[in-house]
């Protein structure tokens, strides 16, 4: 299927004259050839005909509701944990341990959501993979760092206290 003349200016000009909005991104020349299908008026961003429903991604409860549940569980656990570490005056090895585990996971999930939002796998596979693995590496380092800090140094709660009163 020939796409005729496609001009590479600031955006793409499709054969039938659909204008790429200045804010859209990611649709490459090659992708158009691969997704070429009938009855969508030459618009490459429509997969399949205009009358077909969109195909929903494959079902995966782990990536779906279980992930969401886990994320909220961590967030909810952090509330009493943070309050406890603020209020508690004395020894805080337990809260430090919990914080040192839950906080890195909580932040990991948060950053992972950002990566999925701005570099989704279908659009930026390379960046997505590199950022995801980089994030995992950093989370592991932070986990180890928290462990080190909690065992061989003052601990997270004490650190915040010192910085606060410094």
């Amino acid at each position: 299927m020939s796409f005729g003349m496609l001009s590479f200016s600031r955006g793409f000009v499709f054969r039938r004259g659909f204008h790429l909005s200045p804010f859209a991104s990611g649709f490459t020349f090659h992708r158009g050839f691969r997704n070429a299908s009938p009855n969508n008026n030459g618009a490459e961003y429509i997969k399949g005909s205009v009358n077909e429903a969109v195909v929903l991604p494959p079902r995966d409860k782990v990536a779906g509701s279980y992930h969401w549940d886990f994320e909220r569980l961590l967030s909810v656990t952090l509330i009493p944990l943070t309050i406890a570490s603020v209020v508690k005056g004395g020894a805080h090895p337990i809260t430090d341990l919990c914080l040192g585990v839950i906080l890195p996971f909580h932040c990991h999930i948060g950053f992972d959501a950002m990566i999925t939002d701005y570099f989704p796998h279908r659009r930026n596979p390379v960046l997505n993979r590199s950022f995801s693995w980089g994030l995992r590496a950093v989370t592991l380092i932070v986990l180890y760092g928290c462990y080190e800090f909690n065992t061989n140094d003052v601990g997270l709660t004490e650190l915040v206290k010192k910085v606060w009163h410094a």
Partner: protein, 289 residues
Amino acid sequence: MSLLALSKNSSFFRVSRHVLEITTCNTRFLTTTPSQKAQTVASASAGSNANKDPLVKTFSIYRWNPDKPAEKPHLQQYQVDLNACGPMVLDALIKIKNEQDATLTFRRSCREGICGSCAMNISGTNTLACLAKIDRDASNTKLYPLPHMYVVKDLVPDLTHFYKQYKSIEPFLKKETKPKAGEREHYQSIADRKKLDGLYECILCACCSTSCPSYWWNSDEYLGPAVLLQAYRWMIDSRDDYAKQRREALQNPFSVYRCHTIMNCTKTCPKGLNPGRAIAMIKKEMALE
């Protein structure tokens, strides 16, 4: 009645309904005969600004012509006398199309906020042009098509993908068993019907979905608030038997879970609906499974 309207700006306010003749004020007519009265009624209803100074405002409207695709989209200014125009933005658009530039292209149909055709971005907010009052204080009103949508022409966005996403949630009643012989209605209690209030009124104008940043970045796979509102509408319909399957279909990181409760959708809905809450309810129901 027309004299009452004309004398609104005058000092003489109290005009008896039965005594129409003489007023010593800014009106041009001292006495009215029936024929003259008919004339004033006609001219007043024709929207003439005979007694008002023209209130001219600028409308900056996004223009792009697919027949000349190399020409970059640009804003074109139009001057409209608001005193000779209806109160809504759609009235101004139609006036411009009738009197100044017939090539201005936009969708419209019902002019009463029920069809959802005239959805566009008016001074930064996505609403229906037929329900958006022209801001008489602002010197300039900017009209853009719905944000982050492919543009067919001028203010007309391409909603094909939006409709395809709507189709994917199967927006129709699904029953497990066929109705028994003699049973004609699907019975529903008043309480169950009340659950659908705030959901069924959606006119699929796409204002909410196109106001959502998550939908801007991931419209391929994130369904968007409008479609999710309708998904919820069918999930909680007591007559529908496939609620569980509807929820299962959304079990992936993108269809629902790109929502981060930004809440632009609820803020911008021209019908006053709450898609953000519906999405939260979907998440809640999915979490408890």
